[in-house]
């Protein structure tokens, strides 16, 4: 079973206590597989205790990309988190650990 890391790349962004994960297929032909397997529910399950709130998914077929907006996932917010990675910059690579 391949990890997402083999077929897609990802960038993490933040707004307050929300983490935004952009998942992009290296090859456009893999995009349908992402749409099928990497659902909002699957991402919420995979990230487990990292994401306490809901996960919303947006589809961007022209970019072969999925956008995941993960609420309540940055330890209370970038500016008051006690965590080391308060922005969640490294969360892109947590998503890419997903086995699909």
């Amino acid at each position: 079973m391949p990890r997402l890391h083999e077929i897609a790349h990802c960038r993490a962004g933040d707004k307050g206590n929300t983490s935004i994960l952009s998942l992009i297929a290296y090859r456009a032909e893999d995009y349908p597989l992402l749409v099928e397997r990497v659902t909002a529910d699957a991402v919420k399950r995979h990230l487990g205790s990292i994401v306490l709130g809901k996960v919303e998914r947006y589809e961007l077929p022209d970019l072969a990309a999925l956008q995941f907006v993960c609420e309540d996932s940055l330890g209370g917010g970038v500016t008051t988190s006690l965590g080391l990675d308060a922005h969640g910059k490294s969360l892109s690579y947590a998503l890419l650990e997903m086995v699909i």
């Binding site: 962004g13 307050g16 008051t80």
Partner: protein, 448 residues
């Protein structure tokens, strides 16, 4: 007819960004405008604290170093600069810039954009968007700045100033203002504003468009990252653009880097909200047109938001941290034991102590690797307190593990820093009047 295309380039993605990459682009990029976006979420609140200690401070700490190198280039290259380096004190930033111009005997006109500071008119009972709780109840308020739009910058650009200095302005609006001004777009031409906003959004994070925050050996190779080039865009009168970077600089611009940055921090790709426009990025079309060149078009827009977002900073107490490292056999178990010892000793005063095992679970809270045997692990403990003195106890307890904790603990460090929290709220546009003031270094400075 205005010159087309217009070339806008990036000078900084945040306050501490590299200066040499910006100067290279100013020198060799044939730019019309260079934009230095220097305000992250917390930057203004921290600047406000510096301004309270010294009324002449509160602007970007790197402003002087940037201006020293930039000012001599402006006249020679017909380059204009737009920047949010004013932070909490744009007037003082302009004074400091003018002082450098005088010392270098350069004529210079600086326009200061005012109006973003709304702390004096914000009702403390206003609920924060994030929590629904009154903003006045979060902690002592230190700053409240409305995100201004491109419209606030237009009078400054029309003044003919060489440099426009602002406080809080929505990041893409710094770029969009230059494009609107140059082509004379109407402020209700939302289709064009959306395209210009997409360009600004792509450029605002500088190196993040050219391979920064991207590279991964073996998967996403980026050449010569030590000399990563900052990006520019050639924008036509309809807002279509070609992204590029200087020949001879490191990095790469292609579909992969541009896609990552287009979606970066976008909470709804159908509705990316700035003060200027609500832009739909789902229809954006990207097309490579050459080495390190990507054509961008297709963003849509139909309206702008009624209200402006306000970023509110408050004092959130102090954070104390301590770290100590373990290596070799059973490193993980020894680091865990060390964390348990500190937790037990601080339980009463720090019930919400954070314990991280760096090298194992510090970033994602768990390891996705089932067979986990890190050779070395660093314990990190963090806790929040009302005063710096109490916060220091966290690091002291970790340091005491040297002689009271598990075997082989080394390299203890302790830190305390003041924490500033940020929440947001909304404000009616008519309650945020903006203006400009002009500062000039005398024309005969050059002749002298």
């Amino acid at each position: 007819m205005p010159k087309s295309p217009l070339r806008v380039g990036t000078g900084a993605a945040f306050s501490g960004d590299r200066i040499d990459a910006a100067i290279a682009l100013a020198e060799r990029g044939s730019l019309d405008f260079q934009i230095f976006e220097c305000l992250a979420e917390r930057t203004i609140a921290l600047a406000q604290l510096r301004k309270r200690r010294d009324a002449a401070m509160g602007y970007d700490p790197l402003l002087e170093r940037r201006m020293e190198q930039l000012l001599p280039l402006l006249g020679q290259r017909r380059l204009r600069v737009v920047t949010s380096m004013g932070a909490a004190n744009p007037g003082a930033a302009a004074d400091a810039t003018i002082a450098i111009a005088r010392r270098l005997e350069l004529p210079l006109k600086v326009a200061v954009v005012t109006g973003d500071d709304v702390l004096d008119r914000l009702d403390p009972a206003t609920p924060a968007l994030e929590t629904g709780q009154p903003i006045g109840g979060m902690g002592p308020l230190v700053s409240a700045n409305a995100y201004l739009g491109a419209d606030a910058l237009l009078p400054a650009l029309a003044s003919g100033a060489d440099i426009v200095i602002s406080g809080r302005v929505a990041d893409p609006s710094l770029f969009l203002a230059c494009i609107i001004y140059h082509y004379g777009w109407r402020l209700d031409d939302f289709e064009r504003l959306a395209r210009g906003t997409a360009v600004g959004h792509l450029l605002e994070c500088a190196g993040q468009l050219t391979g920064g925050y991207f590279a991964e050996p073996g998967y996403k190779e980026v050449p010569d990252m030590a000399n990563l080039g900052f990006p520019f865009a050639d924008v036509d009168g309809d807002g279509n653009a070609v992204l590029g970077k200087l020949d001879g600089t490191g990095g790469r611009i292609d579909l992969a880097t541009v896609k990552e940055q287009l979606l970066y921090e976008v909470t709804d790709p159908r509705a990316y909200v700035t003060p200027d426009v609500i832009a739909d990025f789902t229809a954006v079309m990207l097309r490579p047109t050459g080495p390190n060149r990507v054509d961008v078009r297709g963003a849509r827009g139909t309206s702008r938001p009624d209200k402006l977002k306000v970023s509110v900073g408050y004092l959130a107490g102090y954070v104390g941290e301590g770290e100590i490292g373990y290596a070799g056999a059973n490193a993980l178990a020894r680091a865990r034991l060390a964390g348990e010892i500190v937790r037990e000793r601080l339980r009463a005063e720090f019930p919400n102590l954070r314990i991280d095992l760096i090298g194992s679970t510090s970033l994602h809270g768990r390891s996705f690797d089932a067979a986990e045997h890190p050779y070395e692990v660093r314990l990190r403990v963090a806790g929040r307190a009302a005063t710096a003195e109490r916060a220091m106890i966290v690091g002291e307890e970790v340091e005491a593990l040297y002689t009271n904790g598990p075997g082989g603990g080394g390299g203890a460090r302790k830190y305390v820093h003041e924490q500033v929290g940020i929440v947001s709220t909304l404000i009616e546009r008519e309650r945020v009047p903006t203006g400009i003031t002009i500062r000039e270094s005398s024309r005969n400075a050059k002749a002298a």
